[in-house]
Symmetry: C2
């Protein structure tokens, strides 16, 4: 696992274990779950003994989540007309941990589905980066009524954890408990389309450009 992928693994590791404070048996939701970070978060959640559901933007990715990455369930958010209802269907008992990579409408759908004392770990908001004016999130009242904690982090604050992460993750990789996929295109000419593809959800895992 190269340094670049390593940074995404570290992000998943810190965001899940340190920020989200998971307990065995808890219900975990990962948005953009087929992305470089989401793939790993779901597998760490399984190692911890959690129930984990992911969302992704194609049936192929949903299939990957359930087969290759061992998610308990997954759904294609592009096929759902009501994200709040989709989460309710996947989590009849509610969500303890939301690992948030998407923001906007997805986050708004998560809030009413959270359980008392739940944690929302804010890792990214991919749905918002290309918007001139971000979408408004209307369901923040649930932060009070459900006693939620929503917390953001930036991985560069946690570089000190790298050695510990590396040792632990190397073990998981050796034991086959964690796997990952990268999306590699060939040549700089392919880079612009690959970049646009990220925002359209075409990549599976970290989008890399091979230039040699």
């Amino acid at each position: 696992m190269g340094l670049y992928s390593g940074m995404h693994g570290l992000t998943a590791y810190v965001g899940f274990f340190e920020m989200s404070k998971p307990k065995k048996g808890e219900y975990v939701f990962v948005s953009s779950a087929c992305g470089a970070i989401g793939q790993i978060v779901g597998q760490l959640a399984k190692i911890k003994g959690c129930y984990v559901v992911g969302s992704a933007g194609s049936d192929d990715k949903v299939n990957l989540l359930k087969t290759k990455f061992g998610f308990d369930d997954a759904f294609n958010y592009k096929k759902e007309t009501d994200l709040e209802a989709a989460l309710k269907r996947c989590f009849p008992e509610g969500i303890d941990i939301d690992f948030e990579n998407v923001g906007g409408a997805m986050l708004d759908a998560v809030l009413p589905n959270m359980r008392l004392g739940g944690r929302i770990t804010m890792c990214g908001m991919i749905s918002q980066y290309h918007l001139e004016r971000p979408e408004g999130v209307r369901n923040l009242m649930y932060i009070i009524t459900k006693r939620l904690r929503m917390e953001g982090f930036v991985i560069f604050d946690s570089i000190a954890v790298y050695r510990q992460f590396e040792e632990e993750m190397a073990g998981y990789l050796r034991e086959g408990k964690v796997t990952y996929l990268e999306d590699i295109v060939q040549g700089l000419d392919a880079a612009p389309a690959a970049l646009i593809g990220i925002y359209n959800g075409l990549n599976v895992g970290k989008q890399l450009v091979s230039i040699a």
Copy 2:
């Protein structure tokens, strides 16, 4: 201090000391600061050695905050055309702790003004309770970039702290370090108008109805 006021004092005490984790010298913003809880939070912030600014809906209340309750500064949000700029003016260094009683547009203005590692303690969202559809909060990206923690609480979870709170607060009251105002109307006939007044910001402190 009666039990009812005591519950508001306890809310301020738990919300400020336990949830917001204040450090001496930190910058604290309290919205709806002339309310039953806000009054106390501001005074606790001064006891802790913080710099505290409050918002309220009339010049009389702004004056009360600065004279009676010892806030370092205060502003009348109804007179500000740009809440984000008002906060920037009051907090050129940014906000470490936002004690949030208002939500909506006020919360949206707070987010870009938060400092790295700031805490947003979600106590109430008075601006939203009467809306059929809550306002959208657009600036949540700052939760990631500024590594913020936004956390909600409901005071009934913290009743066990009551004895400790009562002893500590009784000391502050005896020493004149904490004072409070209640808004008392006479007779049940006056109750409906008083209730409407709360949402129009007419009350100063806890609105009580005296029926005997």
